[in-house]
């Protein structure tokens, strides 16, 4: 792996994850770099979604789960008892598999994250809403109807709204959990362009079941199977010259 001025933002070190007695992640270690896109690929049930959800401790919501090993955000273990999980989730944003706008107006969706952090200034909220919507390449489509209910948007627009919503709280890392699996190809292309742009400002991690997507948008790719990290390397190397036979079989479509 080359190391030209790469700054590590997020690390998993010897990570194990359990659903009750079931070990879903086995000794996973990867580094995610600032201003790079890291893709997690692998067959269904390989643990990639479980893995990405450990980065903002979303798995805390599922009873009976347990983490072992370390996850470092700026060299600080996010599972330490003194870490405020609420603040962690503000710093590490997440876009979900299915677009999940709230049943509020487009504006209120964007303002949600700021309002819960005590922001009341209407002018500032409008400013952030515009900046976030521009950042999510949605501004031109919705600028005249910010008061409309977010459910009136198309699936692809809803997903970009959810991206804008997470941009509004100014996170440092954005996690995408199969963001395109519920939207059409044209909308997918827009979201992919967007991810490309977002990496200039953020650290991006994306789970995808679409290998072409991983090849298109990511700089680094982790291939996972049955809860284990099989191979982690520069995306180009994974897709042209993988070191592991399993990786090669998977990306050439022999299984998965």
């Amino acid at each position: 792996m080359s190391s030209e001025d790469l700054k590590i933002k997020l690390q998993a070190q010897n990570l194990d994850f359990y659903y009750g007695a079931n070990r879903a992640l086995k000794n996973v270690t990867i580094d995610c770099y600032v201003n790079k896109v890291t893709a997690l690929i692998g067959p269904s049930g390989c643990g990639k979604s479980t893995f990405i959800r450990t980065f903002n401790r979303m798995n805390d919501l599922i009873p009976g789960t347990r983490v072992e090993g370390r996850i470092l955000l700026d060299d600080k273990d996010i599972n330490d008892p003194d870490v405020d999980v609420v603040e962690l989730r503000r710093r590490v944003g997440m876009v979900f598999q299915k677009p999940n706008p709230f049943p509020k107006s487009i504006f209120d969706n964007i303002a949600y994250g700021l309002r819960i952090n005590g922001m009341r200034d209407k002018r500032k909220l409008e400013e952030v809403a515009e900046r976030s919507l521009r950042g999510a390449a949605l501004w031109d489509e919705v600028k005249d109807r910010l008061d409309e209910n977010a459910f009136a948007l198309s699936g692809g627009q809803q997903q970009r709204l959810c991206i804008a919503r997470s941009l509004a709280v100014e996170p440092e890392v954005i996690l995408f959990d199969e963001p395109c699996s519920a939207i059409d190809p044209i909308a997918t292309a827009k979201v992919e362009d967007l991810i490309e742009k977002l990496k200039t400002r953020y650290t991006v991690v994306i789970v995808t079941h679409n290998m072409q997507q991983a090849a298109r948008v990511s700089d680094y790719t982790a291939f996972m199977m049955l809860g284990e990290l099989v191979e982690f390397d520069v995306t180009e190397k994974i897709f042209t010259n993988p070191s592991n036979k399993l990786t090669e079989d998977y990306i050439t479509g022999r299984f998965g």
Binding site: M94, Y112, I116, S166
Partner: protein, 286 residues
């Protein structure tokens, strides 16, 4: 007969029996309402609704019973609505889902099936005697409140369950605390459903006789309840008296039917309020 005709006949017979069952249920309901409206409609007048019974309750109106039912239902609501909603929020959003919560939930379901007379006796022991509230509108209202609680909790919990988890995850992922998430992104959408279930429970309570007859409802009172410790007249109890306990039972029969009609109208009105309320709020949050 071909296989295709046979299938069509079976389908026809199936639909026919389903439709007949529906018609039968409706017919019974219509017949029942028709009977009460026919026999009770005649006595309904402004005087009947606005004056007290006279001449040993053989004449006059049912005003004190209407007022009593109204106030006792308010006390019921004051106990059952906040307590039930809070318990439901705790059970669904905060409590760990384990054997204990399952047991609690099961007990609540079972409590909603306990006969109302049992609540009545419990109310006598707890509110009238132990807490020394006496036979009063307060004791009766609290007894009805206890009876309504399981319904309120169950309905509220169902309403909370209907809120997609993605609203919760989405809010938390933006850095909301659990309480912020519940207050701003769960409750606003769950409250319409919670209130609907609650109002249906209240409507049921307003029509109950057994829980109030030992705890505060009076046979006849020449005055209206002025404080929480007063006894009161109530529509369902009045109906019970008029139809089974009065000495001139045939003479007061029309009054009994009139009371029944008012009670049904009241309960129906409450249920309609719930439906309209839910419809309005649903549109607002769509």
């Amino acid at each position: 007969m071909t296989r295709a005709t046979q299938k069509k006949i079976v389908q026809f017979a199936g639909f026919l029996s389903l439709r007949l069952a529906t018609v039968l249920v409706l017919a019974i309901l219509v017949l029942f309402l028709y009977d009460i409206v026919k026999k009770g409609g005649g006595v309904i007048s402004w005087e009947f609704l606005s004056t007290a019974p006279r001449k040993g309750m053989t004449q006059g109106g049912i005003f004190p019973a209407i007022v009593g039912t109204f106030f006792v239902t308010i006390i019921t609501a004051v106990l059952a609505i906040p307590l039930g909603m809070c318990a439901a929020i705790y059970l669904n959003e905060y409590a760990r889902q384990n054997v204990l919560t399952r047991l609690i939930r099961l007990s609540i379901r079972n409590l909603s099936g306990v006969p109302s007379i049992v609540y009545g006796l419990f109310g006598v022991i707890l509110f009238v005697n132990a807490l020394k509230f006496g036979t009063s509108i307060l004791s009766a209202g609290l007894t009805l409140g206890l009876m309504t609680l399981p319904w309120t909790i169950t309905a509220s919990e169902e309403a909370l369950k209907a809120i997609p988890n993605s609203y919760r995850e989405g809010a938390l992922a933006l850095g909301a605390t659990k309480w912020q998430m519940i207050r701003t992104n769960v409750l606003p959408y769950a409250v319409p459903g919670m209130l609907t279930g609650t109002v249906l429970g209240l409507a049921r309570a307003a029509g109950e006789t057994a829980p109030i007859m030992f705890t505060g409802a009076a046979f006849f009172l020449p005055y209206l309840p002025k404080s929480l410790s007063d006894q009161f007249m109530a529509l369902p109890y009045h109906l019970y008296i008029m139809s089974t306990q009065h000495h001139a039972i045939l003479q007061v029969r029309p009054i009994a039917y009139g009371t029944a009609l008012v009670l049904i109208a009241l309960v129906l009105g409450l249920n309609m309020t719930a439906v309209i309320f839910r419809y309005r709020l649903r549109r607002k949050y769509r």
